[in-house]
Amino acid sequence: MILFKMALRELLSHKKRSIVTLLLSAFSTALFIFANALNNGTHNQLIRSSVEIYPGYMQITNRAFEENPNFDNLIFDVANVTKTLQKIHEINASAARFESYALYSTNEQSIGGMFTAIEPEKEAHVSRLKRSLVEGEYLTPSDTNAIYLGAELAKRLKVGIGDTLSFISTGADYSFAADNLVVKGLFKTKLYEFDNASGFVNKGYFDEVMHSRNIATHIIMSPTDLEQIDVVTQKVQKALGHGLEVKNYKTTLEDLILAMEIDTIFGYITLGIFFIVIFFVIGIFAFLSVYARIRQIGVLRAIGTTPKQVMGMLLIEALILGFLSVGLGGAAGAYASHHYEKHPIEITSLVDVDAQEYAKQYNMVAEATFPSEFNPPRIMLDMLIMMLLNLMTVLYPIVLINRFTPTEAIRYV
């Protein structure tokens, strides 16, 4: 108790130094928490939109499809798979797709692109395709000869709602397939390349023209609990047997996730440089404050204070400053994380020009908003790390001071 009192009075008797130390450490804590929150929030958003725009969280394909994406390697009994999936309650929704390519033609233009069959109502539960509608209407299960077209592709084909175009493609039985389609709706996602090359039709109609009844290239699923996705993936795989392959976004979007990890690492490197300097300065202040008291510490030792108790006293000082600054910085960081989760940071210049440009260039989802993530356990962990850093700053002075014998310390000038 007396050691605590001494530590506290020592801090109070050097107010300016204590305040500078406190502010530096509080600032670092807030910066650390917010930088992590922003990093996680932005990455999660990017991954979420990349997944949800079209690829989906989980997918089933024929095991041979990845090696050989041809029409011999399809899911040939969609109804049966769907039935199995319905029994697995961790699966929230599923939808079958048939992806193929077609040459779209108008009188003026012929452009190659993705030509995909979807189950309109089910699809709405596994991707953002329906929500990406910008003009006209989304597909329904009773549609025939209607196409839901990417806005950029429509621009290139020079077609609008109600216009007709034709497609030429290969059916599931390798037969030649062609028909006329009326543009029913246009969609625009944040993926330029996707909007520039995709068209969707109702699978019921598609199956007639392409001879693909009960056949699909992919079945897309969304899990009830995203946290459990790896477990669910294994469970579905087990239920379906070896002929089909179940993968989740961690595999299908491996590159993107790795890219986000690299981005995180670069963020840490920059933060690291900041922190080295900040904690050097905090350490220097701690060092000076200890050195100014060498005589006093010598006296304390002479009259029976053990080296451990001296260390304890210095640690208490660091702890008091640490608690205050980490608490203060933690609160500020948590507030900022919470605020920018609800109101993401917007970089307006990106909104105006670059989002599209960026998307075109990098084939990545372009976001002009940067949300943070308010994650209390993560914030607590960040605060703990900062607390440890704070304590580490007194280690060097403690080691130095304990090298002195009491007489050396008392005589120290």
Partner: protein, 413 residues
Amino acid sequence: MFSHTEMLYVKMALLHIVRRKGRAALISIMIAISMIGLLLMEGMYEGMMVQITQNSIKTGSGTVSIQHKMFRSDNNIKYTIANPYKITALLDSKKEVESYVMRINQRGLIATAGYSQGVNVMGIDLEKESSHAKLENFIIKGNYNFNKNGRGALIGYRLAKKLKVDIGKKVIVTMQDTNNEVVSVALKITGILKTNNMAIDSNGLLMDIERLRGLNGIQGVTEISILLHEQNDDTQLIHSLVPKINDQNIAVYSYKELYPSLHEGEAMMQTYSRISSSFIFIVATLGIFGVVLVSVFERVREFGIMMAIGTQFHDIARLIIYESLVITMSGYIVGALLGGGLLWYFKEFGLDLSGLSDAFAIFGMDSSIHAILKREYFTSAFISVLVATLAATIIPIRTLKQRNPIQSISEQP
């Protein structure tokens, strides 16, 4: 250079530093580490930016690009430069121009037996590209040729992976000709490219320009891509070219317009590193200030004695400044040597991160990052350290003056 008394002050400064080597070392190490960190950050980040920019510029539209003014918004082959030789004659006379090539860019559909997708078809002249973009350096598999019959094609590595094609395999490329008729050609893959320009890696097919002309019937070219000796001469060249070309339909673009995100990325990186440096500068100044203040205050008596025997106050101020400069500059020298050495190493040999190359490619980066080493990194750091040191000594010196050192001789130690 130094007078006799001045040498004495330097000597005193050095001796005092040796006596208090612990804190002097802390400051030096702090400056050295932050220097190394900042140098690496600036040099590596700038290296990355240059790499991303160069990858896009070289294999893409060049530093300056000449196109039909409609081609950028509507990649239709009816928007061509009908008489490119009139323009290239102009370019031949420009000494800023390092090299230029003519290309035809067209969207098409690429197909293998079971898979097809959209593709950017680029008609190029292999020989000219070799002295321009040095495309042969980007070949990761196969050879840099189109076979003797001109029926070969180079393909982006991501596209090759997606299509599951390899050297010697055939692909069918379908596109429109100038009469809006669909034309197809079978090409044999002769080489696979990894340029880290996504437009080529994920979506690009390069074929012989004459063969492409034979297919689509284009007379001119869609683009003249120009590289300059000095990247910053772009505006100057554009200003001198536009009136001479004197054609309303022809537009001359700088890479800054064609890739605004790159340009913005550069600007953002610069602002970012400027903010980081000034922040570190302020924090470091605080640390130096703390040390100078303590080392001045604990020697008030010593300074008093010096003044009592005839030293003028400004000489004492000079002593304090010398002392601080010796400490900080030794940190600067160590930091500059180590940081500069590391940067030089990474400039010459690159930082190899090939394990992560696919993820880096998403950002348009190579797996090996080559740092940039500029003299201004060191001069600006030198000025910063100098200013920080002087700023940190102002308050201690002023406070010392107010304390009136001579009086302090009689005070209790």
